[in-house]
């Protein structure tokens, strides 16, 4: 991973370019804000997320409850922050593991013998052909809902996508002159993969990851909405939404509270991911 993260002044130049891309910069700001709020959720929360207060049910926003309360009088703002923790935890853990596995399998497929590549591709395509939600339903029915189950589902369904991207990049790099030069110098396959392939596939991978976060967050929220994710009373954006849906006639605020963060995450990470792609692509296709 360290090889992937070597900045080489890339970081500085990327930040400079980002300033010229207002949407992307806005996306980055949202990403950072969400990151800070979720990591430090207990600090920023005003109440305990599961603290019930039956006298303050379904209240609109006020000085006491910034986003109002839900049907059990729990402070929505604090629940949203803690729900964010769940969403981000799932995203980061699941995507990191998916990336790691995807990189390993993708490089194996791209650089290894043809038969292995064909086998792996069949594997990837098989997994990808399952409809995600049905697959999730099946797994939850077998194992029971929990945070780890959700993470596991996300990993299994995401790995093929990452592996495919890595495989394509590796296949393309395989024939490049500098890889040939390394082989001509007698470099081992391991050395080539570690020092020459990995740093050059980092960019598309991070772009994919960035654009993947909204999807993973959506998946987690969707599963929680269906009651298949984290179990109550743990706050999750999906469960806030499902509660809000049930009480929509009484108060719109739970729905709004649950919906806004989803929208923001999706917009923020998507804009950021697209800006990343714009930054890296012209660099990759350099013309003098």
């Amino acid at each position: 991973m360290i090889a992937l993260l070597r900045p080489h002044g890339l970081l500085r130049e990327s930040l400079r370019k980002l300033r010229g891309n207002p949407l992307g910069f806005g996306g980055l700001v949202i990403v950072i804000v969400i990151g800070v709020l979720t990591v430090f959720a207990p600090l920023f929360a005003t109440h305990a997320p599961n603290e019930v207060d039956v006298y303050a049910r379904l209240q609109p926003p006020s000085g006491e409850h910034w986003l109002g309360t839900d049907q059990l009088g729990r402070d929505l703002y604090s629940r949203v922050l803690h729900g964010g923790r769940i969403a981000m935890t799932v995203s980061l853990v699941a995507i990191s593991l998916s990336m790691a596995l995807g990189v390993a399998l993708g490089m194996l497929a791209g650089f290894g013998p043809r038969w292995l590549d064909r086998l792996l591709v069949i594997g990837f395509d098989t997994v990808r052909s399952f409809p995600t939600v049905m697959f999730a339903l099946a797994v939850v029915a077998l194992i029971g809902p929990s945070l780890n189950t959700v993470i596991g589902i996300v990993i299994i369904t995401s790995v093929p996508a990452y592996a495919r991207v890595v495989r394509t990049q590796t296949l393309a790099l395989r024939e490049r002159d500098f890889i040939l030069a390394e082989r001509a110098m007698g470099a081992s396959t391991w050395r080539i993969l570690r020092h020459h392939v990995m740093p050059n596939i980092a960019a598309p991978l991070f772009i994919l990851a960035s654009m993947d976060i909204p999807a993973v967050v959506g998946l987690e929220a969707g599963l929680s909405f269906l009651g298949l994710g984290v179990r109550p009373p743990t706050a999750s954006w999906g469960s806030i939404l499902s509660d809000g849906y049930a009480y929509i006639r009484n108060s719109p605020w739970p729905l709004i509270a649950g919906g806004i963060p989803l929208v923001l995450v999706t917009l923020g990470f998507t804009f950021f991911g697209e800006a990343l792609r714009d930054i890296f692509d012209p660099r990759l296709r350099r013309k003098t």
């Binding site: 002159d177 500098f178 040939l180 001509a184 110098m185 470099a187 740093p199």
Partner: protein, 332 residues
């Protein structure tokens, strides 16, 4: 005179993509011969140029010698010792004795590595851990006439000429006996082509380096090569000392190549040996002399009989049934 490189009957084949179709089309074997029995020798301190056009197999020859592609047959000796092959039939030359310089100078450098790291690669691969990367980088840069400040640059920050020098520097890191240069002047402006060539000949004199140059540019061959080999469809049609070949080409293809120099001199244009048609596909090799489909001097027996190699003067070999007379008019 020590022989640094000796190649005997080297062959490189690629399997046919569609073996059944190939059989039906009349091929005896389910493969394509890209290099079909090449033999050559390079002595210490000498330069041999392999000249050919596209489809001749010259780059494949270089890649086979470096073990980048498998070779089906033939023996290769470097400084007298035979080069073994691995399980996939790729030659395994000692990479400290043979090094290669690639055609695309910037593309052959790893884009995310600085010049210093790129120059340290050969050491890292063969003698890990025991080097001072900075010192070696400085030494190698100086060897090719570049200042130490280039060590911090990335490949995309180099010009074509500078990147080429760094390619040379990297190839010379472990002080090899033989350098294989694949199209060393490709893509370079005429006004700086001389730079790379002068560098190579200078290094040759200083270090006693042997060089195998792969090129399609005959004009530079005259100035850098002691001997040359003309390649067509995977075979050498003529080879020998450059001076001898320029004075007395015996094979029509050699003469056609020499005269394929556009010029404003109408005399030269008139004397030009013109070829007809295009290079035949490797999948449908012509019968008899493989050059007969384009040869302006083709005779009936050329279509049927495969010419054997004759040795005209020591070292000057060619394969043609009706070679050009030795009193052919002197060509530039």
């Amino acid at each position: 005179m020590t022989t640094v490189l000796e190649v005997n009957d080297l062959q490189v084949r690629y399997p046919h993509a569609h073996p059944v179709a190939a059989r039906l089309a009349g091929n005896r074997y389910p493969w394509i011969d890209v290099v079909r029995g090449v033999s050559l020798q390079i002595a210490r301190g000498e330069t041999l140029a392999v000249v050919g056009e596209s489809g001749s197999g010259k780059t494949t020859l270089a890649q086979a010698l470096m073990g980048l592609v498998p070779s089906a047959g033939g023996e290769v000796r470097i400084e007298g010792s035979a080069v073994p092959r691995d399980r996939r039939n790729r030659l395994m030359p000692d990479r400290r004795r043979v090094a290669m310089m690639f055609q695309d100078p910037i593309g052959s450098l790893s884009p995310r590595m600085t010049v210093r790291e790129a120059l340290a690669e050969p050491f890292q691969i063969h003698r890990p851990g025991r080097i001072d990367a900075n010192a070696e980088a400085k030494r190698l840069l100086a060897l090719v006439g570049l200042g130490a400040e280039f060590a911090e640059r990335y490949p995309h920050q180099l010009s074509g000429g500078q990147a080429r020098r760094i390619g040379v520097a990297r190839a010379l890191a472990l002080e090899p006996a033989l350098l294989i240069a694949d199209e060393p002047t490709a893509g370079l402006d005429v006004s700086i082509q001389g730079d790379v060539l002068n560098l190579l000949t200078g290094l040759q004199q200083r270090l006693g380096l042997s060089i195998l140059v792969i090129t399609h540019n005959l004009n530079i061959v005259r100035h850098v090569a002691d001997s040359m080999a003309i390649m067509y469809l995977g075979r050498f049609v003529e080879q020998g000392a450059s001076g001898e070949l320029f004075r007395n080409p015996r094979h029509p293809y050699t003469r056609a190549l020499f005269s394929a120099n556009p010029s404003h001199d109408p005399r030269k244009v008139a004397e030009r040996m013109r070829l007809t048609g295009e290079v035949p596909s490797l999948m449908r090799r012509p019968a008899g002399c493989e050059f007969h489909t384009r040869c302006p001097l083709v005779a009936d027996d050329c279509r049927v009989i495969v010419p054997v190699q004759t040795e005209q003067a020591p070292g000057h070999r060619y394969a043609c049934l009706h070679p050009l007379a030795t009193s052919a008019p002197r060509l530039p």
